[in-house]
Amino acid sequence: MKLLIVDDSLIMRRAIERSAGRSRFSEIHTATNGLLAVEMFARHRPDVVTMDITMPDMDGLSAIDLILKQNPAANILVVSALADKGTAIEAVKRGALGFLLKPVTAESVHNAIENILSD
């Protein structure tokens, strides 16, 4: 299985990578903004995408739109600190399968990814 982690923070990308579990994913790719995420999705066709919202160049909501145009069945988990209901509703309305509020723990990331894969 393949995982794509999209976050502008190196420390967050590495933390999510550790939490997701290397044994679960044979390939883990990363992107630092929405624009690169769309390119990486096209290139690697990951089974799961974790997506931050606030990023430079292209935000996560715009990237979700473009990824779902490529594959309407893409499994996208939003991992964001934006705590207003509007952002969470908007992400789900656009096609994200889950919304995880930062700060996250290793356990919460692991469980959220497992939930998406089991659905």
Partner: protein
């Protein structure tokens, strides 16, 4: 100088977000000290994250932390990189998280931009010093730190 009612409410919001963050990631609640009003930028600690804010409120929010505390937090995250780049990345991420979490209170009126971070000697040119801001000092695991909220209506 007295703190206005709205500022007190904002202060409570940020005390809540700072507390939640460090309890989740650091495992303990910070000890909050008395907040102060600032008319000039206070001295920055080793690493400072800045988050520009626009919308109903304009300005920025900054979080200043010592290296010792950032190294401890990196450890708690299971991170083996402790260099300055990792510390600046983490302080930017924490600042972004605290500011973005505050949207639970401020709603979409609080528009946020990607965070910046700098070491103590630097200050980004694009961030003007605010005429008035409040500083929320706190202590965590024996280290002094503070959040600076520089927002204007």
């Amino acid at each position: 100088m007295s703190i206005s009612f709205e500022t007190e409410q904002e202060l409570a919001v940020f005390i809540g977000t700072v507390g939640r963050y460090f309890q989740t990631v650091g495992g303990v609640l910070p000890d909050f000290l008395a907040p102060t009003l600032e008319t000039v930028l206070p001295a920055r600690l080793d690493c400072t994250g800045y988050m520009p804010v626009s919308g109903r409120l304009e300005g920025w929010i900054a979080l200043s932390l010592p290296s010792s505390l950032l190294r401890t937090l990196l450890d708690r995250l299971g991170e083996d990189r402790h260099d300055e780049a990792a510390q600046l990345d983490l302080v930017a991420e924490i600042t972004s998280t605290l500011t973005s979490n505050a949207r639970a209170h401020f709603g979409e009126h609080l528009r946020v931009a990607p965070p910046l971070a700098s070491s103590a000697s630097e200050f980004p040119d694009e961030l003007p010093a605010p005429p008035l801001s409040f500083r929320l000092p706190f202590q965590l695991q024996g280290a002094d730190a503070y959040l600076l909220v520089a927002l204007q209506r």
